[in-house]
């Protein structure tokens, strides 16, 4: 049962891990893949639709966006070339469309030279588009072959449009020179009050000058149809129109003749040159003032609005909020609350009066400064010297220029990367700082930030310095230094020791010497020779080579040389000392001989 549970848990964990995508992958290790053919096909469908609906600007934007599509190797070039060609074709078709419309419009106005010029330009754009089309078709086929994304409908749509535009150009060309032109004039008063009625009149005639009676003429005010009238026997028309409540400098009046019925096959439409009517209305004087001009967030200001027109409705906007009021008499006052979230800065209080009949709109603005009270950290009280990691007390006192203090504020202190905070009220706040365990000895910088909880106050910050002495590090240093110093001292004392006098060596109790058959020349009563004899005993035991009476010291050394190994050096040295003592009567330090002998015995495994 348990293994099953474990397996289930593992499977669950694996599923969870696979459900979370990685945070990133190394882009250099990725093999670039071509764009998704399905996504590309969908995009080309959209592009085809846009082209067919002659939304050339949108089609151009989409083609421009598609230039960002990425693909590996030379496929990137094919894609980019295709999208570039679609962009160019969209531009050319857009040009031909606009030029054809211009040509038709100019033809209808009777401006034959402008119509011809526009038509010529349109045909040139179409010729260029037709030349580019072949490259577009090739690129589309290549994309279909290599990416399996359906790009040929885009090329087909472009071809259809080129054909349609060319046919339209021929049509414009055919109709351009067969219609008779017309002229229309318009007359209107030079000025008029808003809301009043004015009489607009004019004359409609064929290009030869003969008046055109019983034709419908439309009068446009600022481009919008305002009414229509029929021409009389002399080709004149007359119409009363109402001036709109438009509070601007002037009104544009124009007349338009659009041939209807049989006239459409005979006359070209015409539009008059515009005439301008100065608009008359009363401009009220509006002024606005705020008191006080400087305010705290959350505070209230009085906004006084005055005007020379009474009873108008005024909207006051500030801080993204709007309030409306109606002027009682010539002035009015309203209280405006500054949002608590408003940051320091200069704000505009705008008053706009709404138009009413012949009284036009007016606007006035006043400036308001939102400024929070600058809180100051007056004092940061901390011991100049402290023992770490023992806690130390910090006292922070705040003040403000006008003497008011925030009800509550938060004091944050950062010392050696450790953060401490406390919420307090009143003038001063206290908090205990506990320096980190491994605080280095020396000066440490303390950063203090005071953040008032009252939005009317600005935060303040300050810094101070404290000298720390870390007791733990001090103890660690002592633990390092004291044993080292003691050891050094012992060493020096040993070196200063006076070597023991020789008689002391002589008085040393002699080891119990076993009777041996050594050469008679050896004198065991000499301490150096005695050490040699003891060394020989150890060597005999270890090598099983006995010192014969006939052996000299050198001969015995030669006899055991090959069997001594690492202790050969010691035995050679002690043999030389014995020779020097025995044959040359040299002064030899018995202590050295004893040390050598003891080391030799130790190395031979405690023999002797």
């Amino acid at each position: 049962m348990k293994p099953r549970c474990a397996a289930l848990l593992l499977a669950l964990l694996a599923a969870l891990a696979s459900a979370q995508p990685p945070r990133h992958v190394n882009p250099d290790e990725l093999a670039a893949r071509p764009p998704d053919p399905l996504a590309l096909t969908t995009t080309y469908q959209l592009l085809t639709q846009l082209l067919r609906s002659q939304s050339f600007a949108d089609a151009g934007s989409l083609a421009k966006l598609l230039l960002n599509a990425t693909a590996p190797g030379d496929l990137a070039y094919v894609l980019s070339r295709f999208h570039q060609l679609v962009l160019e074709e969209s531009g050319l078709l857009n040009s031909s469309r606009t030029l054809l419309d211009l040509a038709r419009g100019a033809a209808e106005r009777g401006d034959l030279s402008a119509a011809k010029s526009a038509l010529g330009e349109a045909l040139r754009a179409l010729a260029k588009a037709n030349a580019t089309r072949y490259g577009l078709e090739e690129a589309a086929r290549e994309i279909e072959r290599r990416l399996r994304a359906r790009a040929t409908p885009v090329a087909a749509a472009v071809e259809e449009l080129i054909r349609a535009h060319a046919s339209e150009a021929l049509d414009v060309n055919a109709t351009l020179f067969n219609l008779e032109g017309t002229t229309i004039t318009v007359e209107a008063p030079g000025e008029a009050w808003v809301g009043s009625a004015i009489e607009v009149s004019g004359l409609l005639a064929a290009s030869a000058g003969e008046p055109l009676p019983a034709r419908r003429v439309t009068v446009l005010l600022d481009g919008a149809p305002a009414g229509s009238a029929a021409t009389d026997e002399s080709g004149r028309y007359r119409l009363a129109v109402k001036v709109p409540f438009a509070y601007k400098e002037r009104l544009t009046v124009a007349a338009l003749y659009l041939p209807e019925g049989e006239d459409a096959q005979r006359y070209r439409p015409s539009a008059s040159d515009p005439v301008y009517v100065k608009l008359l209305f009363t401009k009220p004087r509006l002024s606005v003032s705020v008191s006080p001009r400087e305010v705290l967030p959350g505070g209230v200001v009085k906004v006084r609005v005055s005007s020379n027109a009474s009873g108008i409705r005024v909207t006051i906007s500030a801080f993204g909020l709007a309030r409306s009021l109606t002027l009682n008499g010539l002035e009015s006052e309203v209280a405006l609350k500054v949002p608590e979230s408003a940051v320091d800065g200069l704000y505009k209080v705008v008053a706009r009066s709404e138009p009413n009949g012949t009284i036009g709109p007016a606007e006035a603005a006043a400036e308001l400064v939102v400024s929070r009270i600058a809180l100051e950290v007056e004092k940061v009280e901390i011991p100049a010297f402290s023992l770490a990691p023992l806690p130390l007390q910090l006292k922070v006192c705040v003040s403000s220029p006008n003497g008011t203090l925030p009800g509550r504020y938060r004091v944050e202190a950062v010392l050696l990367g450790a953060r401490y905070e406390v919420e307090a009220g009143g003038e001063c706040a206290e908090l205990a700082l506990k320096p980190p365990l491994l605080s280095p000895t020396g000066p440490a910088r303390l950063e203090v930030t005071v953040t008032p909880l009252d939005p009317r106050f600005k935060p303040a910050s300050s810094s101070a310095e404290v000298r720390l002495l870390n007791l733990l590090l001090l103890a660690f240093s002592a633990a390092l230094l004291v044993p080292a110093a003691l050891r050094l001292r012992r060493g020096f004392e040993r070196e200063m020791e006076v070597p023991p006098p020789k008689p002391v060596e002589a008085a040393r109790p002699e080891p119990e010497a076993e009777p041996v058959a050594y050469s008679e020349s050896l004198k065991p009563e000499d301490p150096v020779i005695l050490e040699y004899v003891l060394a020989v005993r150890a060597v005999e035991k270890a090598t099983r080579v006995l010192l014969k009476p006939s052996h000299t010291i050198s001969e015995y050394l030669e006899a055991v040389r090959d069997k001594l190994g690492p202790v050969l050096k010691h035995f050679t040295y002690i043999s030389k000392l014995a020779e020097a003592r025995l044959y040359a009567g040299a002064e030899v330090d018995p202590g050295l001989a004893r040390t050598l002998r003891e080391e030799l015995e130790k190395l031979l495994g405690g023999a002797g």
Partner: protein, 288 residues
Amino acid sequence: MRRAELALALALTAATLALLTAVYPVNADFSLENPYWNGMSALKGAGLAAGLAEACALDPREHALLLVGPSKPFTAGDVRAVESFLARGGLVVVADDFGTANQLLEAIGAPVRLTGSLLADPLFNLGALQLPLAFWGGRRLALNYATTVNASACGECGILAESSAFSYLDLNLNGKHDAGEPVGPFPVAVELRYGAGRLVVVSDSSLFINSMLGREANRDFLQQLLASRKPVLVADRWEETPLTMAKELLRSAWRAASSPEVKYSLAALALALSLDWGRRLARANKRF
């Protein structure tokens, strides 16, 4: 003698380990010390790394906080530190995708969230649909396993960059668009005022890593965000690897060893040991 040899061997091993730890390059994600593709050493010259508390205590007029790919939870103290930095007029750039940044955004009351769904773009990408391109004005940003920003509850947020109209959220992570998966454009970088400060939320933690910073306009985007401020990479919000822990330990030891009492004690100890060894050597020479 044998004890001394053992001590020497141990000391040499410890020194070698310490040296290896010190010189072995960090390979942890987003680290300013990491020179590999997933690190941020490219920013080392221009910025610095610090703990969150330390970073928030810096002057907000001169520094900008870069909170990249946090994976550790934020404490109430962390949240207050960030709030305080923003209240003092600071700039905080939060770049995250599947980390813990949402917890911070929620705690400080910012009306934006990271959706946590994988953003994919089959057309505009760096060779894989999980490495989509985003559009920052007329320029492009290269993303790497990014998500999107949900700023629908934010009335005053400015969208700095967004994904293409062909991007989608790959909710089931199958690498293709399925019915019901939302389609773009999605905001990927959003800016909002927070008190006197400015908060920028980017939905990709990898936008500024070494292998991505030089791609498209990523570097210019960061420079424009920072203006003249020095970036401070918040370095204590990631899960630690054994190597980073060892390096941190070594750094702490070095800091402790740099304090005068330890520094001079160690020097004195070295002197004492060399004197002792010198004396022993002289005695041995005299003996032979």
